[in-house]
Amino acid sequence: MMDFNLTSEQKMVQDMVHRFAEQELAPNIEEWDEAEAFDLSVFDRMAELGLLGHCFPTKYGGGGMDYITLALVCEELERVDTSFRVVMSVHIGLCGLGILQWGTEEQKHKHLTPLATGEKLGTFGLTEPNAGSDAAAIETVAERDGDEYVLNGEKMWISLADTADTFLVFARTDPSAGHRGISAFIVDREMPGFESEEIHGKMGIRAGDTGSFTLQDCRVPAENLLGEEGEGFKIAMSCIDNGRYTVAAGTVGLIRACLEASTQYAMERETFGKPIAEHQLVQQMIAHMTRDEEITRLLVYKAGWLKNEGVRNTRETSLAKWYGCDASFRAAENAVQIHGAYGYSNEYPVERYLRNSKGAVIYEGSAEIQTLLQASYALGVRKDKPVRCELPGWPYEE
């Protein structure tokens, strides 16, 4: 019943992404991180390689690969830098899979296909200046006007805000109905009233674009309402199940990167007449990284398996995300420690790993939010109810 073998397809994708990241991203990452920018042609390459749609069904222009493959892609990308895994998280996890789960057939053909082919980039606009963890507190409003909605508000801390074309935007259609008054819209950057801006000065993920956007009397066709009016909060939460999965999978790669750098350095650096790898306290840090890499991977594979089976996995995904984010932050901290003063400078990549790893402890549900979630499941306070549209399992129906 249990099978941890990767299929030949999965191995090929893993190998391809590994090579892509090593050959085309790794040589530039320090420069991009330093400059808080990166070459937009990376997206063209990702599209060419089929990475931007690999796990969407082929009938919408995707590669038809499964959810475990998505995890492998995230792991390999984040092994080089978190910024590239973030692209998978927002474009595939939060935006594309959200449309796949909740979209009508027509919406999927119209909005998912260009994401799958990489013609367009997608992202997710939930967070606002005054609403993060408490997503139900969003203030952006959408008012129906004939066959359009008029959106007004501001979204902040949005990955790819200044680069993406397609935005899954959450706004209030009923200001008095709390989380039941939120709806989801597919917004295009080209729509009048949309304006985006980059945020500079981030601690990590500096090669990735994070920004804000405003909607000022932005008119969105009613046909771009995803799901039904008032279903937005449920949609956001299911998108986050998919986003969190990609974040968790990425942390495996980040831990792996810390481990690779640390083992290499520990064998080269000598103190007290021997390589520091021979000091037990250094070994302990390395052992913890090994443990955490494997635990996180197992948690991710389990969540991925549930996704393939078409089974709800909010609880398992949250656990993987929570554990992986804390573990990768710890691994990066220890990687810096093992490198001593050299680790504290940008001569080695580990300080970048540490800066990058902090983000995931905050976004897509902070460590505190995951803690509360796990406790509420354990105490029986929280039980997942079926939603109107479930994420399709894999293999996809043709």
Binding site: T7, S8, E9, M12, V13, D15, M16, R19, F20, Q23, E48, L49, G50, L51, G53, H54, T58, G63, G64, M65
Partner: protein, 261 residues
């Protein structure tokens, strides 16, 4: 026109044990890759096809698991693949391998160019390509670093020689073995990977090739590998301490004493 690429699956590391019975490499448990030089041959064939049309077929003799390597080549863009696998092929030396490949090429119909990597990183003989050309009675150019032109009449290439290169023209069909400088092998993309996993890869055995067992495998081999080992790193290193000036002086003295300068 058809381009045939002969490729081999090799262990990723050079530290492998050998089978005492057959004298060949033991591959169990070691990750396998496409012989790096062969990736360049595949890429070059794909570029021929892109420029001139036709199709690329990859051919490999090896154990059943070599099919993985063929699939990787299909993922890169090859149109088809054929695996030559039979217990009777076990223990082949370069001659028996070349005979088996030649028999397969004979079954494949017309072709214009056969491409091989310069050598396989496990055996390091660089013999199979040239031997195959001889058996097929076609011209070959080894150590090609660039293809200048390929037309109906022939192929013009730059071939590395000591201290430079020569420009060689050969009529078609011909065989070339390629160096790593020749191109930048592409990455497989998602579409290629999907196609690779749907592609039927036929396995041809000794009967299909119409070979006799005395021409194939250990029995058909002209050479016998007696031992394979990773050479020990010999010699003691000596560190010369001191200021750069003194270090240089000491080094020059030692080189002079050793008769090197």
């Amino acid at each position: 026109m058809r381009y045939i690429v002969c490729m081999k699956q090799v262990p990723e590391t050079t530290e492998v044990d050998i089978d005492p019975e057959t004298g060949t490499l033991l591959r169990e448990g070691i990750p396998s890759i496409i012989n790096p030089f062969d990736e360049y041959a595949i890429e070059e064939a794909l570029q021929f096809r892109e420029e001139r049309g036709g199709e690329v077929t990859v051919l490999s003799m090896g154990p059943p698991q070599a099919e993985e390597a063929l699939r990787e080549a299909v993922a890169m863009g090859a149109d088809g693949a054929i695996l030559l696998s039979d217990p009777a092929f076990r223990g082949s030396d370069t001659l028996a391998t070349a005979r088996t490949l030649a028999a397969a090429v004979g079954k494949m119909g017309d072709y214009s160019v056969i491409l091989c990597g310069k050598q396989a990183i496990d055996g390091d003989t660089a013999q199979v390509g040239p031997e195959l050309a001889e058996l097929l009675d076609i011209p070959h150019v080894a150590d090609v670093r660039e293809v200048r032109e390929i037309t109906e009449e022939g192929i013009t290439v730059e071939r590395m020689i000591e201290g430079g290169y020569e420009i060689v023209k050969a009529p078609l069909p011909a065989l070339v073995t390629v160096l790593k400088d020749i191109n930048e092998p592409r990455l497989a993309n998602m579409q290629g990977i999907m196609r690779a996993n749907q592609t039927e890869i036929p396995t041809w055995g000794i009967d299909h090739l119409g070979m006799s067992s005395s021409d194939a495998g250990l029995e058909g081999s002209a050479t016998e590998v007696i031992d394979v080992f990773t050479p020990e790193v010999g010699g003691e290193g000596e560190m010369i301490e001191g200021e750069p000036r003194d270090q240089a002086k000491a080094l020059a003295g030692k080189l002079r004493d050793a008769g090197v300068i």
